[in-house]
Symmetry: C2
Subunit: 262 residues, 2 copies
């Protein structure tokens, strides 16, 4: 049994705090997650859990305690746990987990596969919510294109509700993504406000790639031109835009359920 | 012309800071918004803008400056503006705006009306995103039921992207909502994970009310029992849940576009 850590100057504690910065996550190839559900999902999905940290005063559930047997676990005092926690009411469990990112050339494709590619999106909450939606919709993966926010950012991991461990996270340049899509016969669906078909009026041959642009700029025209279909969600109000994660959800459910209902 | 405010101890500056707390917003019946688009939308939609604050060094666009003519405007020094701002890079304009909340008994209903009712939801970002979606979908209003997060919370206003000024915000008890729905012939659609129809397999008679439960608990059974239809969005992944705002967006677009496409 390892001794309890009761100082915030302990190297493990300092390391966990550093992992809140992207620079250190990339350097070490790991990220920190906090909470019962997300640690349980990491273990269940076979993620490489390098280290669990926990707190005897805070971790009350039997289920939570059963997780401590599944990976090396280090106890923290309540004040140290609170110091690393981003929650108002920490539940007393967290873990350092190895990042898993797939290169586009290694991503497998099935006949009914649907992927979501995100071009230079910037909000970690949106990214995490989209990863969660991709999991719920039973789609195949999220492809991050260009200068996109880090999927292992604490806010992205939190918004994904554990789905970051279920969903393939792929990184690619725009050029490689388009080549891969064409070589593998993916039908590319892009979203555009102008001159597009209503998303409900068309069908979506599989395998398919849904291409979403950044929150502010959408998709650049040189990428939009490579799409097989450009679709739009009708905007009927004055503000006339949807949150990126909501728009992705509406389109993804349309694409993944078409064959069942139509 | 009013003199420029260069001290954070000025009563107007203190008041704006206080308005970040719900207690003071309710006391005064106003809230503070920040940013070019949201101030412009407030003015355009005829919201009661009590006071604009702006900063000569930060507000560079001609469009932004043209807004200063449309309501009483007070200039703040750059350091004072930065002190009240919640942004990393403030654009130098904000406004104190009167809240507008409708009582359920005063809300009008059309033959094709669709309302979204939110039961005790707690996340201000979700609420703002749903208000934005209701506007984009052309639905008629958001009804806040029970102990729901404040729609004038800064994070809710920000996530609404100005739609908080376009969309009717209604408050009601659960009992009054159900009575109002039945008296006015609204078809009540509730979401439930268990024993429900696939949301794509049914039609949605209008006028309609979409009833969504809280992030953690969903809808309580005594409310679910009052619904005309219970629907579910299929969950195909392991994490098996959707973000509340994404789920609301998927259902709302299904309900509001059914008649066009089917």
């Amino acid at each position: 049994m390892r001794p309890m850590i009761s100082s915030t100057k302990n190297p493990l504690v300092k390391r966990i705090r550093r992992l809140k910065q992207k620079k250190y996550r990339l350097q070490e190839g790991v990220f920190f997650v906090e909470g019962l559900r997300v640690v349980a999902t990491a273990l269940e999905m076979g993620a490489e859990v390098e280290q669990i940290v926990w707190c005897d005063d805070l971790l009350v559930s039997d289920f939570g305690r059963s997780l401590l047997l599944q990976a090396p676990a280090t106890e923290l005092s309540a004040s140290v746990f609170q110091a690393i926690s981003e929650r108002d009411q920490p539940v007393g469990i967290g873990a350092i987990v190895k990042m898993r990112v797939t290169a586009i050339s290694e991503q497998s494709i099935g006949e009914q596969s649907v992927f979501v590619a995100l071009y230079e999106i910037s909000d970690p909450g949106n990214l995490g919510t989209i990863i969660r939606t991709v999991d719920a919709a039973g789609a195949d993966g999220v492809i991050l294109v260009g200068n996109t926010v880090d999927p292992f950012h604490p806010s992205a991991v939190k918004a994904s509700m554990g789905a970051v461990f279920n969903v393939a996270i792929v990184e690619s340049s725009a050029e490689n993504l388009l080549n891969w899509s064409k070589e593998n016969g993916l039908s590319i669906v892009a979203t555009s406000a102008k001159g597009s078909a209503d998303y409900r009026a068309i069908s979506y041959p599989k395998p398919a790639l849904l291409l979403m642009g950044s929150e502010r700029e959408g998709l650049p025209s040189h990428i939009l031109q490579q799409a097989d279909q450009a679709v739009a969600i009708p905007m009927r109000g004055t503000a006339s835009s949807l949150n990126l994660a909501v728009a992705t959800g509406i389109l993804l459910y349309q694409m993944t359920t078409t064959s069942v209902v139509d």
